[in-house]
Amino acid sequence: MNPIDPRIHQALDGDIARESLPPELRRVVDRLESAAALLAAAVPPQSAGLETRVMAAVRRPAPSGERVRRLLRWFATPQAVTFRIRPAWSLALAAAIVLLTLVPADERGPALGEHEGIAQFVGRFPDAHSVHVAGSFNDWRTGTIPLEDRDHDGVWRATVVLPTGAYEYMFVVDGERWVPDHWADRLVEDDFGRENSIVIVRATWR
């Protein structure tokens, strides 16, 4: 492929007038424009079949597969939701939530939705008084997911039901010290000079 006189490109790009070119370059411009005109003129006959085909699809309701795929994508994306309720109901609802989240539904554990899985958080903090986990699964709230060290061996644990997907998180020790999960393989910069860990919650863990 040989480079050609740049004025040919300039004329074809409309940067200079074709009339300003010497005759031999104008001939080259004409050749290329004729070639393009051939490609443009040889148009396939307007296909009535195409419009019929497309309109048939337009008139059909959206495939349920697409609806399900949209729903799956929504569930796979961490959704943080907060909502306001009347004060009169708030205490009752809070109590219900506490009851339902702390008391398992049965011996086998909570009934998981189709697009939920289990995330296990484990960290060794022998001198800690409290350890929480905060991340993109709970709007980075520091007090809502406590880890426990039931046997007082310095290893703190929590098992959490979450929608499937990937989340960034850190541990919060004693309410103030942010620590990445060093046992996690996946780390990513948090843009604040530290590193977050990443957990991938899978639907197959039930």
Partner: protein, 222 residues
């Protein structure tokens, strides 16, 4: 039935507050107008807004100064644009969904080179790529060459492994390395096993029984 009800309550978008409301009280007040305007910009450009809100909430939770939070959100908007441009280059038909843009953003954030991400996107045109990209990133984190890692994961996908099962491929490779194989040997061993790589062990029954759902804030301010 009651846990199901909790799931519906937690997941209902109908109850979602506006993004600005989510930031108030959690992010330094001075940063909120900047973050809010970035969210509006992302909305206008059909880019995902949730990662921006999450980044601001994260900065607030970590007691970061307003200027740092604003800078992080601004940088993220540019990275989301780059992620969408990558999807276009890789041949995805528009419009790119928020989930797809976020997936690509996350892969690039994990350090995968853009050409490798493009290659995976192009090789899996009709399905979510999150697991495939994380699988490749997992191997790259352990110093596997990203192109070779991508080739293995793409091969696994072509042999019928889908979604989360692709993570099992990278896990299997890393196990082979732990057993003493070189990286090249580990890849070869797992390639021979495809598509029958082992699934991960399930968590112990006791820990699953104690699993909790995170409580979301339900109380209005006093």
């Amino acid at each position: 039935m009651r846990p199901g009800l909790i799931l519906v309550l937690l997941a209902s978008p109908l109850a979602a507050q506006s993004e600005r409301d989510r930031l108030e009280g959690r992010v330094p007040a001075v940063a909120i107008p900047t973050v809010d305007s970035l969210v509006q910009l992302a909305t206008r450009e059909d880019l995902p807004t949730e990662p921006l809100v999450q980044k601001a909430l994260e900065g607030g939770a970590k007691h970061q100064p307003a200027v740092r939070i604003a800078a992080a959100a601004q940088a993220m908007l540019g990275q989301l644009r780059d992620a969408r441009a990558l999807l276009v280059r890789a041949g995805d038909a528009p419009p790119a969904t928020a989930a797809e843009v976020t997936t690509i953003y996350a892969a690039l954030k994990r350090g995968l080179p853009a050409p490798v991400v493009e290659r995976i996107v192009a090789a899996l045109p009709h399905e979510p790529r999150g697991s495939a990209l994380h699988a490749v990133a997992d191997l790259a984190t352990h110093h596997f060459e990203p192109d070779s890692a991508a080739a293995l994961i793409i091969d696994a996908a072509r042999q019928g492994l889908r979604g989360e099962r692709l993570l099992d491929v990278s896990t299997a490779v890393l196990h082979e390395v732990q057993r003493g194989h070189s990286r090249a040997e580990a890849v070869a061993v797992v390639r021979r096993q495809l598509p029958n790589v082992p699934s991960p062990p399930k968590p112990a029954g006791a820990s699953v029984a104690g699993a909790r759902r995170p409580g979301t804030t339900a109380l209005p301010p006093p």
